[in-house]
Structure formats: C-alpha cells, structure tokens
Symmetry: C2
Subunit: 527 residues, 2 copies
C-alpha cells in the first residue's frame, strides 16, 4: 500500500536518488518501507502545479472547498487501522493516542469546512458610493479576504496527524483557498503518505484542480530550504524547534519577496504556584502536575517545564510530593532515537549548570528509547542570572524555581522569553496580592490559565496557540482554532467594481446570506 | 513656539550634538529653526518610558483611549494657521492641500476614537465550559485582541500630517493600546514638533501615562536604526521608499526577537486601458489621467506610473492626447531638493534604457524645485525584457506600454511586482474578453479599481492600502482604514479565568454591550 514516493498533485514520483526509512522506537528497528526524498525537479513541479491550481482554487466557493475538506476527513477515517498501525510503528505512541489525534484531525477539517460553508469568515466590508459628496465623490469600495497563494506546511514530529499532512495548518490553508505543499516529516513518512493518499482521493472525488495538494518526502533540511526559497511559495507553516523555525523564518525574510512564516516553536510554559494554593492543595497539585509533565512523555509544546513558587514549607512539601508522584508513573517511549538523544543531552546540559539540583529521576529498568522523567530545583537568584536555565528540555522534565519573594518572582517572569502559555495556581484573593506577577505573565504569553494545566489545547474559536517570540514567529496569529485561517489570507478591495463581476460575498444581493459590515453596520440584508 | 527639541514623553530634550534645519523648496532656502537630532541616550529614555507607559496604557478602556484620540484631534485643530504655515514652508505644498490633509488626519483620529469607544473591534470570543464532556472536560476559554507593545512610527516625506506624527499609523497604534515613538521626518521636523506638542497636550489633559507618546528628531538613518533594534520596541510602521522600508524590515528580522514591520512602500499602480474604452472615451480618459499623473506633483504612492494598452489607432490617439493635456497643467514644486534630485535622476535612468521614448515633457520656464511632468512610451516586448523599466519614478512621470496583443498584456501583468492598486478601464462586456488580464492584475495588487483613477485613497473600513511585496512588507494588513489597527495587536486567551478578573470585554455581564462570538454565535447578550 505504501509506495515511498512523493505526490506531485495526484501523480506519484520518485526521481531522487536519496532514500531513507522510518524507525520504530518501541521495537528499536527501522521500518521496512523505503522513501524517496523529493528531488529539485520534483520540488519545482509541485510548486508550479500549486501555482496553476491557485489561479482556480482561490475563487472556489466556500461550499466547494468545504466538500473537499469534509471528503478529506472521510477518506482519513476510511484508512482505518492501517493508519493507526502505521502511526504507532513510526512514533512509538500508543493506539489510543493515535485514535485521539485522528479524531482531532478530522474535527479540525470539519470545523474549517463548516466555517467556509457559512462564509462569514471573509470579513466582507461594503462602503457604498456617495456620488454627490463634496469636494470629491466617494467611490463604492468593498473588501474581503483572499488567499495568499501556495503555502508550504512542515509536518511536526510530535503530532504525526493533527499538525502534519492534513493537520491544522493544511486544513486552514486549504480552507482559505491556498494550495498546500507538505514537507513530510522524515520520522513519519509512511503516516504522511497514507494521509496524503486520502487527500488526493478527496481532491479527485470533489473535482479539485491538479496541484491543490502535494506531499514531498525529505530526510534532511534541503527540501524545506528549496521550498521556502521558491518564488511562487507565498507563506509557510511550521511546528517544531526554535532552531528549525528560526532558520525558516530567516530564509523567508532574506527572499527577494519576503513571505510570512508562521512557526509555532518552543515553550517552557511557566506555572506560578501562589503560596496559599500550595498550602491548601499542594498534594493534589503535585499529583496533577506529575501527570501533566509526563503526558505524552513530555512531548507536547505546552509541557510545563518551569514551575515557580515562593520558598517555604509548602513549596518544599510540593517538591517532595511531586518527586514521589512522578516516579510512580510508567515512563514512556519517545518518538525517535534522535528525540530521546536530544532529551538526554539537554537534560545533562541543564544539570551541568551550577545550582540546578536533580531531586528525582525515574531509576528502574526501562525499554529502548524510553525517557526517564526528572524533577529538578534551582534557587530564584541562580535562575535569574543564568539564561541557559530558561531553555526548553523537550521531554518529561521540569524545573522548580524557588523564589525568595514576590518581587523576585515578578522579576523572573519579566525576564522570561515569550511563551505559548502561562498558568496561575491561586486561591481566591491571592491574585490581587500578586497582580504584578499576573501582569508580567500576561505580557509574556499567548494564553493564560487559572488553576489548570497547560497541556491540552482545546480546538475552539477562543483558543490562542501562539504567543510572543520565540513561542511563535508572529504573535498576531494563532495556530489552533478557526481564526488560524487568517494566517493565509490578505484583505482585497474592489473599487466601483460592477456588481455582476464581484465575488458573491460582496454582491448587492448578498447571495451567500453572510454577515457583512455595510456602511459600518453589521448586516445580512441585501443592499 | 518651535523649540527644535525632542519630546521624551512630555519633557523636551536636546542632548545631542547633531543639528539640522528643514528646507523651503519654494523659496529654495533653509527654514530658520534648528533641530536637535535625538541622541542614543534620548532614544533609550523614550523607549524605556514607552515600555513603562505600556504596562498601564494597554489596559485603559476604549472610552479613555478615545478621549485621548479626540483630544489630539482637537489640539491639532487648535494649532490653527501656525500648523498650515509650517506645513507649507517645509513641504512646498499649497495651503489647500495642507488643510485637506489636516482634515484627513483629524478624521482618522476621530474614526479610531469611535471604533474603540464602541469596542467591538477587540474580536471578543467566548467558549463556555463543558465540565461533563467525555473523555475530558472542556475548559472555559475567552479571547480578545491585546496591544503588542511600544510601536515606532516613521514619518512619511509625502504626507507631513496624515502619515506622520499623528497620522494613520500613530492613530491606529494608540487606539490599539500601544505607546508610540515617532521618528520624525527630517524634511518636516517643525510640522512634526507642532503636532507632537498637540499630542503631548492632549495626553496631559486626558491623564495619559508619561511616555505614551514621544517624538524624536533625526537627520539621517541612525535614530531609526537604533529604535528598530531596541528590544522593548515591539512593532514598526513605515511609509516611504522600497529601499528604506526593506532596510527596516531586514533590521527587524535580524533581531534576537524579530518584530513585525508594516512598511507601505513603492508602487507604480498599473492601469489597463481596454481597446473599446479607449476608442469610445480616449480623449476624456487622457484628460483625467493627465490630472491623476500630475496630482500633488506625482508625489502620491498611488500615482499611475504605468499605463497599458493594446497597439492601434485608439492607443496612439490616447498617447498624443495625454501628451497634449499633461503639458497644459501648471507644474508643481516637489517636497525637497533631494526629492526632485531623485526624480530627475530616475527619469534620466529610465530614459537611458533602450526603447523608452520620451513623448512629451513640460518645457517652459519653471521655478526652483519644480518638476517637469513627462509622458514616455515603450513597446510591450521591450518592457517585458527589461525589469529596470518596472521601477517607480517617484514624481509626475508615466510610461505607456504598447502591447502587441491580449496575450502579451497578460504576460506583462503576471510579471509585475506587487502593487498597491491596479486599475481597469473598460466598456461593458470587454471585461469578459479580458478575464485573464483581470485575474492576473488581481493577484498583483491590494485594491482593484474599475473605470477610475488610483489616486485618492478613501479612508473607510473597506479600504485596502497595502498589497503584495513590495507594495507592503505584509500584505495581510492594510495601512488605511480602521482595520489597520490589526497590525498592532495580538490575540490573547484566558482559560478558566475568574469572571471578576477578566477584562470587561470578556466578562459574563458584557458590560460594554459589544458584539461577541459566544459558542460560535454572534451575540450582544450577557451570559
């Protein structure tokens, strides 16, 4: 069933000479299938085809595009256990997680389908003419969102489905009217090919133009570099490391025509435990956070890597309970030998910093590629002075920063880099006492959580998954939820354009029945 | 009245040793006042103060911020003739234009004041909790737009009021909740100081924090470079040349924390004249376009620098009528000797290109710094092969490209760089015959105009002033109209946040009475 080839539109292709295999971290063996990395020629063909598709696809109705997205969801479901098996073999993640992520992927596709079928998202604005206005007449101007052009999506290592081939970036870009070229993640090229085949089937069934979607294999960085530099590529979506995301951002910024790169990158997701809450609920918080730190073997971008508290008995007690609880949890396999290799190296590097203490680490016998979860502590003063301690250790690792007092806590938060999330654990009136800390946290994150855990990113319109750099390269957008479509569109104005030539969203009759801003008033009426 | 000093918040300061004067292009003499370029110390003080102000100002209610913006408008009007006189002395533009531009500036400020007073613009989204959802409960998540931080605004040479000190960028940023530091344009530092004094007065009267606005003088690029590189500056607005805008974009992209730069840059604003329209209305079109090319001495970013037609008698006749009409217009003074120097140099450079013919140029005696308008022609094939001919000649200059046929016209449009505007001049059914040309144009511009002129940028919600690079550095935003506020904000989510601690826009009671997306339905109701 798996060919190992690239999809250039609906055509499979294997012109390149570079081949690679994926790896099963549980069996600790390479998987069987050979994949062909895309050649320069194949990259060019995929982008040229995407550009041709764009000229038609950008004007497809919301209805037609929604049929396509729903068909993709159907075809992914039709892949059945083949997809789940492949996902598990290429990630070491359990079947339950695979099914959950498939559900999320399908939900995202159907949410975007619903959004574009409704059609209001285009932000239709109409200002009608005032031909008699003095000193000069006012023209008729109408505005709506339009697609940017072909988008390149980089598959994420830690979400083989929900942030890869048909994941959030792809669904949002296709919904916007942008053809997508996926740079498949080398760790799960088979999962990628299966999902790509589902998209291609859906494209055929719903009459989409050739090139609306392509899937290119890669084992290293060359394919991605060439894609980002191609003049007909107009935007980039990425989920992964700061180093990777920044490299793509830099490449895109150096182009003759710079293009937007939305990279969702690293985050240590600070959690602030206020004293009264620790005193009253320290034990249950320790249990909850042992779970959150180790969830998915710590391979979530919202993993709580930094815990802050003010020194005292309650914090000491919390640290010791957290350490006890975390080693009760069965350690998990990481996605790939490279990932666990980085985990161990980064953990070691962190522990080599003066003042960082290892409080506990899972010590029993473990299988291949299984990560030993760890809890560390450090003094606030030491943390404040050493930026190396602020870096993410991707995996089931957390650091409890023991602050001297409220002032030091606030000073530390102010110095943190941008984060996806910030969490506040507090009792009733504590928030008012610590308002400086809360304000500082607010300016460093994209989402702030009260008495919860940062892991678990709800897919809904109110979600912001993004944040100040380096949480993302453009904090003005979210990577999750329907508003993530805004990353791939630009506003476009028609001035005095004849009604019959306008897109339906802007016609006098309002044939789509959408909500529009007409002369500064929201309305669904015809003009 | 003019001190020549910088405003660091409400404090005037002149620590630097570099001084300069502005120039009156009509009298061809320096103006009297000496200005002090901001020193590194003053730049640092202004940004530090802006950051402190940000921590308060970002949370001010729409009502309070709207009072500030309206007060700025009032204070600008109170400057009376002093402002108009200074404007004219520093720009060579006539008093009528000065008054028109003041009216536009005040209108922009009041429009943003109205927008933020209403408050709907924050895009409040609420998804309420589902505590019983399986397998995991759904949290309560609420989202709204929040300010990015201190914004640096670069004054534009060609709009001393509407795109400078209190122009569109400043008004939008202050409305969004971002303190503003203006890098005043050296050509109109006196106009800038007057407007800055009005803003400072308004800030005092309405109780705004120190540092919500600062105005820094500069004669060269150093002040701007230091501002863009300062870690506490979070976004940049610029209107000017491609070279200048790109340099700022590159600086911002190379920062440790890259920041968004919205630069509205050059554009040649292609106009396509279809054959039937030229046949029927060639003479009146020639007169209209003679006016549009020379409007404001060609110093508008929407100046029509490229006119396209298909070879034939009608186009020949149009060229000869345009040439006759354009020299009937009294030539105007340009903004500064540097600007006319560049105009003459770029015109000469263009005319040195093989195949570009000068059809007419104003030849009578002219005053100091007055620009001779010019009409040139070139064959489509020549234009297609020589990208040097695609460059903007800022001033009253236009080039008529004589295309062989429809196919060549389409091929040329496809090759154009990104543009602010594209204009189609057509009779009834011609548009269908030339649909390929129209589609090509649409993908190259931010605004498309039917049977009009590109000059004249209406300030209204439907306006897009921006477009694919190099028209702007980020086509996802407009520089004109209320939606330009979106350049300076980011979405922010609160998860399970206590109702009493939420901002008013997201509280259950909806105390602001704004329109919100509640569980995916628009509503003004309380929860």
């Amino acid at each position: 069933m798996i060919t190992g080839k690239n999809y250039i539109g609906s055509r499979t292709s294997s012109l390149g000479s570079k081949i690679f295999k994926t790896f099963n971290p549980i069996s600790n063996k390479e998987n069987e299938q050979t994949f062909y990395e895309a050649s320069t020629q194949e990259i060019k063909e995929a982008v040229d085809l995407a550009w041709e598709a764009f000229l038609y696809y950008q004007d497809f109705s919301g209805e037609r595009k929604s049929e396509f997205l729903n068909a993709i969801a159907d075809e992914i479901e039709s892949l059945g256990d083949d997809l789940i098996d492949m996902y598990c073999a290429e990630s070491g993640l359990p079947a339950g997680r695979a099914m959950g992520e498939r559900g999320r992927t399908v939900f995202q596709l159907r949410s975007f389908a619903e959004l574009i079928k409704k059609g209001d998202w285009v932000e239709a604005h109409i200002d009608t003419a005032l031909p008699d206005r003095a000193p000069i007449p006012k023209p008729d101007i109408r505005k709506m969102m339009t697609a940017l052009g072909p988008v390149v999506v980089f598959g994420a290592s830690n979400f083989p489905l929900a942030y890869s081939t048909a994941g959030g970036d792809t669904a949002a870009a296709l919904a916007a009217g942008c053809p997508v070229i996926v740079k498949s993640h080398p760790m799960h090229a088979g999962t990628g090919e299966l999902v790509a085949s589902a998209i291609i089937k859906a494209a055929r069934k719903t009459g989409m133009p050739q090139g609306v979607f392509s899937n290119l294999n890669s084992s290293g960085i060359e394919v991605g570099v060439q894609l980002v530099q191609h003049p007909q590529v107009k935007a980039v979506g990425f989920t992964g490391s700061i180093r990777g995301g920044r490299a793509l951002y830099d490449l895109a910024a150096k182009r003759e025509e710079p293009i937007p790169v939305f990279a969702e990158m690293g985050s240590v997701n600070p959690v602030v435990f206020l004293p009264e809450a620790l005193m009253k609920r320290g034990d249950s918080l320790a249990k909850t956070y042992a779970g959150s730190v180790t969830l998915g073997t710590g391979q979530f971008c919202t993993n709580p890597g930094l815990l802050f508290g003010i020194k005292g008995d309650a914090l000491d007690q919390f640290i010791s309970r957290l350490s006890e609880e975390i080693v009760l949890i069965e350690p998990g396999c990481m996605l790939h030998p490279n990932i666990i290799g980085n985990y161990e190296a980064n953990k070691k590097k962190a522990l080599s910093q003066p003042g960082l203490k290892l409080v506990t680490e899972y010590e029993q016998a473990i299988g291949h590629n299984v990560a030993r979860q760890a809890v560390t502590t450090v003094e606030g003063t030491t943390f404040l002075q050493n930026p190396a301690l602020h870096q993410e250790v991707f995996g089931p690792f957390t650091m409890v920063v023991q602050c001297k007092d409220k002032e030091q806590l606030e000073a530390i938060i102010l110095k943190l880099e941008g984060q996806l999330t910030g969490t506040l654990i507090a009792e009733g009136n504590e928030v008012n006492t610590f308002s400086g800390v809360v304000d500082a946290l607010r300016n460093r994150v994209g989402r702030i959580i009260f008495n919860g855990v940062p892991t678990g990113v709800e897919v809904c319109p109110s979600m912001v998954h993004g944040g100040p750099y380096p949480a993302s390269t453009d904090s003005r957008f979210t990577a999750v939820g329907i508003d993530s479509i805004k990353r791939w569109v630009r506003p476009f104005s028609y001035q005095d354009w004849p009604n019959n030539l306008l897109p339906d969203a802007l016609k006098n009759e309002n044939p789509l029945g959408i909500i529009r801003l007409v002369n500064n008033q929201l309305s669904t009426e015809a003009l």
